[in-house]
Amino acid sequence: MRNKVFCFFFSICICCSLLQSCENEQQLTYKRYYVNGKGLYEQYCQNCHNADGTGLSNLYPPLTDTLYLKQNKTQLSCIIKYGLTGKIKLTAKEFEGQMPAHNELSDIDVAQLMVYITNSFGNKQGFYDASTANKDLKNCN
């Protein structure tokens, strides 16, 4: 009897620690994406969009428009990789100009940038992995 109880608790313990390590693994991946994304952001985006994502006047749009980023989530990867020409209507104002393409970015680069941008500057959209980026990039407008 005592043995059974012990076994029961022991297995529960193992399950818990397994679950926790799983969660940690996920968190770790998220953090890895986020940190790499920050590096890529500094390299590719920061000059125009600013370190705090506020953009520059009416020249370069801010990345703080949480609503826009949410509503256009599936198109964001496309904008990051293929750039944008013409008008873009954010919640508060309109912008017109040209954002350069960065065709050299791989799916994982785009995903890391997505994780950083959509979880900084007041945004909180959670994780976004490379396979989602791959899927989204196939369905660009």
Partner: protein, 213 residues
Amino acid sequence: MKTVSLILIITTLLQSCTSKQDHKLPILGNREAIEHQVNGKTVVDTVYQTVPAFSFLNQDSVQVTNKDFNNKIYVADFFFTSCNTICPIMHRNMLKVYEKFKNNPQVKILSHSIDVKYDLPSRLKKYANKLGVQGNQWEFVHGSHDAIFDVAAKSYLVAAYEDVKDPQGLVHQGWFVLVDKQKRLRGAYDGTKEDQVQQMMVDMQTLLNEDEK
């Protein structure tokens, strides 16, 4: 104890007084020693480099010349509207300078576009509007290729050149060059560094005070 603190206070007060009076901006650029005769004696004068005459078109397609900068201090820089490397950082910082000295008749800003092919006045106007710049205190100027690259290298000592290897084809340094009312170069600050631009704003005030004396 009391006397010690009193002495300390007095010395710091004195020191702050003298350092304020002594602080003068250096005069940069090339210089020449010129000898001439005064009352039969040979006197040596230092002649400093000054910005020579120029003439460009601004964002309103109006001619802008060196005369528009007479009796003014100004900051000169080089950029182009489609540049996505250092220019946005430079002009994000320059915007702070513009806001600080807005409507001060003694201060101007002169941004030369090195993209002489595409940055025509109409495009410069769009850029200025989007940046939030009205009026002509901040001039965005267009000129011929030779004129622009010549003033960069010779008048303001800023490197700017075309480079086929660069993705955008144009390369330039991010200096903000501070020019005084006698058109002498009094400071050069890295326009991409916030602390240097802060220093420039302090120095601009120093320069304005210097001219008042």
